[in-house]
Assembly symmetry: C2
Homo-oligomer: 294 residues x 2
């Protein structure tokens, strides 16, 4: 006991050093973040070390290997593939026309309440559904809101959160950056547009045995599908504005009764432009600023 | 001193409890990760709390507010916008035809060396460049590789990394999942395709004063642009396969002499399908599995 008492200051000293070391390593929170990411990545090697897709990190680790044994593992049948082969001039002409069509697309915030045939909406969503996806998981859900009351509830949620964003959460930077685009948190188009399409990414899927199936690259896949959706909307002469409602995902998910594996990625109000619609006079970068030939 | 000695077990007890608490909170590394993310997000409020786009987190925090003062802050001119207004039947017909066109798209891994007019490639990249982007930053660079030697170097880098991925980094899960698609790490199409398009996302931009400009939602924006690119490729009768080469980004960036703010998002080999091209006999989800009407 005497020896113990004698060594007490030494014990306390060692413990203090230990605590300081732990606290210092916790203090470097950003380093720690990257460290954690790295660790995570080592156990999830399909996440590109350079790509840093945050969505993969959200996946639960609790998956058993067995869940994959239930998947059909034999090779799928491979079938010949011979698509249309256009003569060169027709190809050039088609590429030019498609560019001209899509180059007329603008983000439009003034949307008329003129009705749009539901069949058109169904076809543009079918089109988006032809998108490629990581391991052919097709990790998307397109929620089409046409009920005026639900549209209005969506608007209320988004405007509430946007106002908070503008006044409290946003730095001056983002606000001044958006000033150029004359955006504010009043979004009338959420009531007037005949359809709102809310695009959810499925961060994981459900296997028949109720276990989770990883959806590789789900955010990139669903964003590509949104690109096809935008092209399809433009192709029929309708307009939209690409929005990613800040911090509204959880409330909108609950409102629309989507399951927990779905997260809101984008919201597109779709309709005809209103008669007095205007757009900011933005220019696009010329080809030489976006393309490099090697 | 006697009192101190008397209290020693108490001190040590308190210290031990303290250490246990700290270690336990560190042990929950995934909780910690989310905590850190939350902290990060509070200082970068334009990142949706639900969206978790990892790319935003990579941005440097060293930006000054002043950098924004160099931006033109006055409102842009707003101009009237009146796009094509098709009669309803034509609209329905157009939506159907566009769906049929894109529904014929397949990911093709067998690409012929038949030459493709450079003008077509330029037009499809122009088309991709019409994509919307966060705060109109247009954060994309399309590197088109046509030089056979450079294509072969790209192939070498990708096959080397892929082989490592397959043998070492990958879990059994991903490998068995891909087995269905008969993919392996030999990618002949990287030599045979007349063009490789490497799509880089610019995670930040450079302001005239040499400071950094945040690129909001750069990964989502560039992925949407890739969606338009895929539609444009399909529209001219060419084929591609959507690839995100694992862990090759840094080496390919150096090979192609791209600046450090650019990160490889995707690689698309583009050309005609080879005569004996096959595709796995995959089906797409029907409309009722991807669309919900409210």
């Amino acid at each position: 006991m005497a020896a113990f008492s004698l060594l007490t200051p030494v014990f306390i000293g060692i413990l203090c050093v230990f605590i300081v070391v732990i606290l210092r390593s916790r203090g470097k929170s950003s380093n720690k973040l990257q460290e954690n990411k790295k660790k995570k990545k080592e156990s999830k090697p399909w996440v590109d070390e350079d790509l840093q897709d945050g969505t993969e990190i959200l996946l639960n680790d609790g998956e058993d290997k067995e869940e994959w044994q239930d998947l059909e593992e034999e090779d799928l049948l491979h079938v010949p593939f011979a698509p249309a082969h256009y003569p060169v001039d027709e190809m050039v002409k088609r590429s030019k026309h498609f560019y001209e069509l899509l180059n007329q697309r603008r983000s439009v915030r003034f949307i008329s309440n003129e009705p749009v045939p539901r069949e058109v909406i169904e076809n543009i969503i079918r089109t988006a559904g032809t998108s490629p996806s990581g391991a052919h998981t097709e990790p998307w859900t397109f929620v089409v809101v046409q009920d005026p009351e639900v549209k209005h509830k969506v608007r209320e949620i988004i405007e509430e959160e946007e106002e908070i964003n503008y006044h409290k959460r946003m730095g001056d930077k983002w606000v001044s950056d958006l000033k150029k685009l004359r955006t504010n948190w009043v979004k009338e188009y959420l009531d007037t547009a005949p359809f709102l399409i809310l695009i959810f990414k499925q961060v994981y899927g459900q296997l028949p045995n109720n276990k989770k199936r990883t959806h590789y690259y789900n955010e990139i896949s669903v964003s590509i599908a949104c690109g096809l959706l935008l092209a399809a909307i433009q192709n029929v002469g309708l307009v939209t504005v690409t929005t990613t409602p800040l911090n509204c995902g959880p409330r909108l998910r609950v409102l629309l009764q989507r399951p927990v594996n779905e997260k809101l990625l984008m919201l597109l109000p779709v309709g005809y432009p209103s008669k007095d619609a205007t757009v900011p006079d933005l220019k696009r970068k010329p080809l030489q600023d976006i393309m490099v030939i090697v």
